[in-house]
């Protein structure tokens, strides 16, 4: 049972940890973005132009690293970062401690036309130590064409380019699959031009036409020529233009994170289902075990009865007083319910004990902590049979309460053993365990729960308890307003309502209370003895013991002084009291 519980708890923790850890990896690029100050820029040829690059996050940034790529032919890098190689500028910063980081880069346009600047890579570390990367982003730059650089027309394979306009520098067009070479004719023909490689591969091709005027200024026309493919489509995808890449990457990221979320949603659902099935399995197991245990207990109980009877029939060598032996013949068939064997209880008491941490500390340092062993009980042995009403008598501080605590299992003895089923014990001390701020009803449930009644049992017996305690009409009242008699009646009623509390321990209960209650409780105890209960009455009043008990145990200063007939034991006790 306990094992299966451990498994369930263990798997529960494990599952959550794995989910935690797995999900933790997916937090990348959530809210991190790279951006330019604007999406498009218009710059002048030959003048230094600024462009702002931004790293943003929804958390404070610690370190930032950016790679910015640009066309080194068209633009000349001037300042703002670190030029790794022509066409690649790096920007890095640390200790930012803000949610946004900004850097201004400067470029000088050298060739008119259009170009793009791309933040290809943005790597950031947040203040929490998380690393993240953002998707790439681009900005378009257009530079007006200077006088003397403008073309009138470009003809491709003998055809004028559709919609050609001398101020527009970028064109896209398609050619047939069999056109492996682009034939360009540039007008006016006297213009000084430079045309890049005109061979056309399948897919996208970029051909540039660069013009130079008399002043040495340059402009560039860009043609994106797409040669349609007849053959395999796969090849085309490999040759997509550089500029298109960022958007492709971004799409990939989005779909990847969406996919991950779906995966983790399914993982979660599966884990939860797993957990539920584990729990159901456990409940089933519990039921089976319960039935089995019940069966076993029934068998065990029968066996126990037999062995117990057999044991008692055997002659026993117990050192005991004469009266004890004479009584035994009557009780030969009774079970031993409490067997205390050589109990010694030592309290380690500190001489003049430290009651504060400071004092304890000082004394420990000074080595002034001296202990004194106080023996509350010295080698006490006795046996109590089923159906006995045993009185424990002794002066105050003689060890009576200690022995009760040991029997009820609250204290473990220093030496010796007690054989008793602590679950069967019912301890009743006067007026204790009540919460005075609660009502009588609430106290019945609280105290009942503590002494081991189930809710159903209390529900069932509630009316009987109230009736016995004679508290009808007071139960919804706070116990604070009860008289002491009412409190003790209620306490007694709760403790004795069980049909056969197998062992009932009464600590100084019968010596207090009004006459009427005393009679009633004594009657109830007699009733219980007939029902087979064993009763232990602790008192320092001999009359209580003599009236109720059939055996008495006298404990004085931790030693067992006498055990046996109550009348004789009490006589000895009274004699001692008189002399002292």
């Amino acid at each position: 049972m306990r094992k299966s519980l451990k498994y369930v708890a263990g798997s529960f923790i494990f599952i959550f940890l794995t989910v935690f850890v797995l999900l933790d990896r997916q937090v990348l690029a959530d809210g991190e973005t790279a951006a330019f100050g604007s999406e498009t820029y218009e710059w002048e040829l030959g003048t230094s132009s600024p462009i702002g690059v931004y790293a943003k996050s929804n958390q404070n940034l610690d370190a930032v690293e950016m790679s910015i790529i640009y066309d080194a032919e068209v633009l000349e890098y001037q300042s703002g970062g670190y030029l790794a190689e022509p066409g690649l500028v790096k920007v890095s910063a640390s200790g930012v401690n803000e949610a946004e980081y900004k850097e201004i880069l400067s470029f000088i346009p050298r060739i008119a036309g259009t170009s793009t600047i791309t933040i290809e890579k943005l790597h950031i570390r947040t203040m929490n130590g998380e690393d993240a990367e953002a998707a790439a982003t681009s900005a378009a730059v257009s530079i007006p064409i200077p006088v003397g650089c403008a073309l009138e027309d470009i003809q491709l394979n003998g055809m004028s380019i559709e919609g050609f306009n001398s101020t527009q520098t970028s064109y896209s067009m398609e050619v047939a699959a069999d056109a492996s070479q682009a034939e360009l004719l540039v007008l006016p023909s006297e213009m000084q031009t430079e045309i890049s490689d005109t061979a056309l591969a399948v897919g996208n091709n970029i051909i540039t036409v660069t013009t130079t005027n008399n002043g040495g200024e340059k402009a560039r026309y860009t043609l994106n020529i797409n040669r349609s493919e007849k053959t395999e489509q796969v090849a085309a995808q490999n040759e997509e233009p550089v500029q298109a890449e960022p958007s492709v990457v971004m799409q990939g990221n989005n779909s990847a994170s969406a996919r991950n979320q779906i995966i983790f949603a399914t993982v979660m659902v599966v884990l939860v289902l797993l957990l539920f099935s584990l729990i159901i399995l456990k409940i089933n197991l519990m039921r089976k075990n319960k039935e089995q245990q019940k069966r076993q207990e029934r068998i065990k109980r029968q066996a126990d009865r037999k062995t117990a009877e057999a044991k008692i029939r055997k002659p026993q060598k117990v050192k005991a007083s004469i009266e004890e032996q004479s009584l035994r013949s009557e009780r030969q068939k009774a079970e031993i319910v409490i067997a205390a064997k050589h109990i010694t209880m030592e309290f380690k008491r500190e001489k003049d004990e430290a009651t504060s941490v400071k004092e304890l500390f000082i004394r420990t340092i000074k080595r002034q902590r001296s202990y004194e062993k106080f023996r509350a009980l010295k080698n006490v042995s006795f046996k109590i049979h089923k159906g006995d009403v045993v009185g424990i008598i002794g002066t105050n501080g003689s060890g009576k309460s200690t022995i009760l605590k040991i029997i009820s299992g609250a204290l473990a003895p220093t030496k010796g053993t007690v054989e008793v089923d602590t679950r069967k014990i019912q301890l009743l001390t006067l007026g204790t365990g009540f919460d005075f701020e609660l009502t009588g009803r609430e106290n019945v449930y609280l105290n009942g729960a503590i002494i081991g009644y189930t809710r159903e049992y209390i529900d069932e017996k509630y009316d009987d308890i109230v009736k016995f305690a004679e508290l009808e009409g007071f139960m919804e009242e706070k116990v604070r307003n009860y008289s002491s008699g009412m409190v003790s009646r209620l306490g007694f009623a709760i403790a004795t309502i069980r049909d056969t509390p197998e062992i009932l321990i009464l600590d100084e209960v019968l010596s207090v209370g009004d006459m009427f209650f005393r009679k009633k409780s004594e009657a109830r105890i007699k009733e219980m003895i007939h029902g087979g209960s064993t009763v232990l009455i602790v008192s320092h009043s001999p009359s209580v013991i003599k009236n109720n008990c059939n055996r008495a145990v006298w404990i004085e200063k931790g030693r067992l002084r006498a055990i046996g007939n109550p009348a004789k034991v009490c006589e000895a006790y009274e004699k001692m009291q008189e002399t002292s």
Binding site: V27, N128, M268, I450, G452, T454
Partner: protein, 257 residues
């Protein structure tokens, strides 16, 4: 009684003890349990009134920031403060009870959890009022609450044991709690402090729980792996230490009481 029945009875005892604590706490008040809901709301209102201006720039949505920290803090202090005195308070029940003494500590810690449940009602309402976007990461907040509960239970064990032997623990602990509260960054942003204090806050297990809770609820982020490891290690470690100390002194406690 077989095991299952025993566990049921154990649970019944805890529930009865918890019921008593709650009834007792509000036994003379009109509004009763409603105070558990009102309390965090009112303290949120007051703290927000003053501090949300100061931390306007560094903390977004200050009321929720505070409330998230506060409910976890209340869980911890509620549990440890009341569990500390539980053994002494229940002296008379201690020898009667059929269960290990832990049941009293469990009951007080569970009371704090029930109280948290009521506070959560207010909390959820406030999440809507302040338009916190629901995020699937919120599913993990029970795990964080559970871990901080285990942590509180461990501390409770230690305190309850210590209090039986030394009454001063109560006074000492109230001072420690004040320090601890300031080191948990409940109503100010933790990154604004530098140096030694900052290190202390970052390594404070309670701040760890509170911070993770904020991430999960407010930012829609999951705690980092190191956060999780620390949370689990603190909870399990402190629980084991507390349990060990308590068990070792069990007999001593009974003798003393």
């Amino acid at each position: 009684m077989d095991k299952a029945e025993e566990r049921k009875q154990y649970w019944f005892v805890i529930k009865e003890l918890t019921g008593r604590e709650i009834k007792r706490k509000y036994s003379r008040s009109y509004l009763g349990i409603v105070w558990s809901v009102l309390n965090p709301l009112l303290s949120m209102a007051i703290i927000s009134l003053i501090f949300s201006q100061i931390f306007r720039r560094s903390i977004e949505n200050f009321p929720i920031y505070y409330l998230t920290g506060n409910i976890l803090w209340q869980l911890f202090t509620g549990a440890t403060n009341s569990a500390m005195t539980t053994l002494v308070d229940n002296k008379t029940l201690l020898i009667k009870v059929k269960f290990p003494m832990q049941v009293f500590i469990f009951a007080r810690v569970y009371t704090a959890l029930v109280n948290l449940g009521y506070s959560l009602v207010a909390y959820v309402v406030m999440l809507f009022v302040f338009k916190v976007t629901p995020s699937w990461t919120m599913i993990f907040s029970p795990v964080i609450i559970f871990l901080s509960l285990i942590f509180s239970l461990g501390i409770s064990y230690i305190l309850a044991t210590a209090y039986v032997f030394f009454g001063d623990v109560k006074h000492l602990y109230s001072i420690i709690l004040t320090l601890w509260m300031y080191l948990s960054a409940i109503f100010y942003p933790a990154d604004q402090l530098k140096g030694f204090i900052h290190t202390a806050i970052i390594n404070n297990p309670l701040f760890n729980y509170i911070d993770s809770m904020r991430k999960v609820i407010m930012l829609g982020q999951l705690p980092t792996v190191s956060d999780i490891v620390r949370m689990v290690v603190w909870a399990v470690g402190v629980y084991l230490i507390g349990h060990h100390i308590f068990n070792k002194h069990k007999n001593g406690i009974m003798q003393k009481i």
